[in-house]
Symmetry: C2
Subunit: 422 residues, 2 copies
Amino acid sequence: MGLIVQKYGGSSVADAESIKRVAKRIMETRRAGHEVCVVVSAMGDTTDELIDLAKQVSPIPEGREYDMLLTAGERISMSLVAMAINSMGGDARSYTGSQAGVITDQSFNRARITSVTPGRLRTALDEGAITIVAGFQGVSETTKDITTLGRGGSDTTAVALAAALGADVCEIYTDVDGVFSADPRLVPKARKLNRVTYEEMLELAASGAKILHLRSVEYARRFNVPIHVRSSFAQHEGTWVRAREEGETVEQAIIAGVAHDTSEAKVTVVGVPDKPGVAAQIFRTIADAELNIDMVVQNISAAATGRTDISFTLPVADGRRAITALQKVQPAIGFESLLFDDQIAKVSLVGAGMKSHPGVTAVFFEALSNVGVNAEMISTSEIRISVVCRADVVKDAVAALHTAFGLDADGEEAVVYGGTGR
Amino acid sequence: MGLIVQKYGGSSVADAESIKRVAKRIMETRRAGHEVCVVVSAMGDTTDELIDLAKQVSPIPEGREYDMLLTAGERISMSLVAMAINSMGGDARSYTGSQAGVITDQSFNRARITSVTPGRLRTALDEGAITIVAGFQGVSETTKDITTLGRGGSDTTAVALAAALGADVCEIYTDVDGVFSADPRLVPKARKLNRVTYEEMLELAASGAKILHLRSVEYARRFNVPIHVRSSFAQHEGTWVRAREEGETVEQAIIAGVAHDTSEAKVTVVGVPDKPGVAAQIFRTIADAELNIDMVVQNISAAATGRTDISFTLPVADGRRAITALQKVQPAIGFESLLFDDQIAKVSLVGAGMKSHPGVTAVFFEALSNVGVNAEMISTSEIRISVVCRADVVKDAVAALHTAFGLDADGEEAVVYGGTGR
């Protein structure tokens, strides 16, 4: 007995048959005695179809209308799921983001949830009803305009409602069994993780693992909402994402997994005058163009020339805007040229245990070296090491790290932590 | 210079190209100096597709979820129209029925507008913007649930907004040139009417003319909103629907047109005991089943048996429910049997002038008699005569009346009003 928030993604509600299967699953949860609040995404490719329609009538659809358009998708799926439950004898009621009390800021297309006032949901749950909520959408507190949370935002809706309703768990249903130690398409021996910490999941999501929306994990961590990622096609347990409990460190694996990301490109600003304030000018230019950058590397200045190179990575789709913005300030900054490289991949090793285990870094680079992978950029956090390498060796790099850190499903513990520190 | 409400139906916004054409037309109106508020229906067959989806997940979708589902259609079309206008350099903002202040009662699927509070629209219009509103939908004042106004409800939305905003005209754009003296598919010589009164339009709409939603005309009459029905594919004037002006009677044609309706069926309750209260029991039964009936006829009682027959017409889709409801009360009422006949048609002659012109009724029945059409039921109002006939002679009946009353586009004035009364 408890309150469970369940989120079903687009592939879980892709057609009438899938919707009926999801409705059955929701009914089973309710019949087991739980209160149930469900968050749904748009059916299958609906959102892509709506985006395509928008592009046909306007080259650059403005945010307000674009968001209004896209929210139609969840409106359709949520009412169909409610109908399906009711036709099975259940009592379900659907709510838009606005009706469910999902209040956001005014940033169309990528709004942030500022508060959740689930009064209507609470009343319906108290009356024994199942509540079905449109994911991905909210309403601006100041302008009352409809907003969307950006791609994957339904995960965030689910976690935010779970926090506001005090749910026992937020179940994220998907078409895979849970979070894996690496992408199973690259590493057949990848294994399902039974649990990861919020911090590990954040690093995995930021490093290219697509299973959970980054902001949903941030939200869950902040409000301590346990997430259970599982398959809507099976009954077995998936992956729990939650805070590390006291004394859990002993059992917890040192390394959670290996993530990769081939969606970024590298921009190199060549021949930058090596004096104070120049790097700041470059990154101010990028920020003013509203571009988010990921990794940054500055080479050691060549004393003879007094110039240096600065490289950074960003989503490949933002590359053109970055180059355009930098070209405009080239005369003012005085750098020599710009290089653009979209044949890169980022490979990351994530594990909360690595900060207390020396030698992880050494094993990491030895493993890459053994398969001939050259690290072009390096970035680390307390629980992550990332490198940029050529895109065509990403599979070798991921597989080598997966094996070296003993993550292979039937592999032996292959790691020898010989070093004394990172 | 004035405020114009324009309503575009589903065929006018069926695809991206149509939406761009509509956007251009709206822009032209705005550039001519008018304030413009636009009401749109769902794109093409969207509503039918959503209804089909609903049927796939639930045999009898309940009203609340069904209405939520259907309103997705206008949400899509309104945001696309706004985007298209903005991409042409205009300033358009879209609003759901709820955002536009369309307040209704709680009758899902066929809600009635109880008030309109267009504050957000007024503000946007004052700022020079074009407002685009989702037709067909509103929000229940008491429960805050989303409601729909029933099929064709976008016409009513447009008229209600025109009334609330004090618009100079409510333009209803469609795929034909206006209101015709008969259905041009049945009568090739049918002609476009330049103007009709609210009363005539009400009778035409109630008699099967599908060009305007009946309730929209009632609303327009009540608030004296001039309606201009015209083609979205042409620039010329269509049909004006408005109150008769002083001294206009002389110019006004006696007969506006001939309407027909093949969507009804006839139920006959055979052998009803001819005593007080029995008819009331029958119609109470029908009313309790929430069925609307149209024409009613009771035969003269056969003195020998003390029994009579009662016939009524209703939408053919409601036939089964009517029969089921009546069968349940057969023992209590004591009638002999039920007949169901869906091979009927209703043919109506409508004209505000007929009440002051004697002989119309005589010419009406002579015209039908001349082509061998038998009237099975008859019903009249001050400005209408309707008969029920066999469905397979509807074309002959409509054409004969159209000619007899001088409505043919190139015909001579053929009517001789020889009688002294109806």
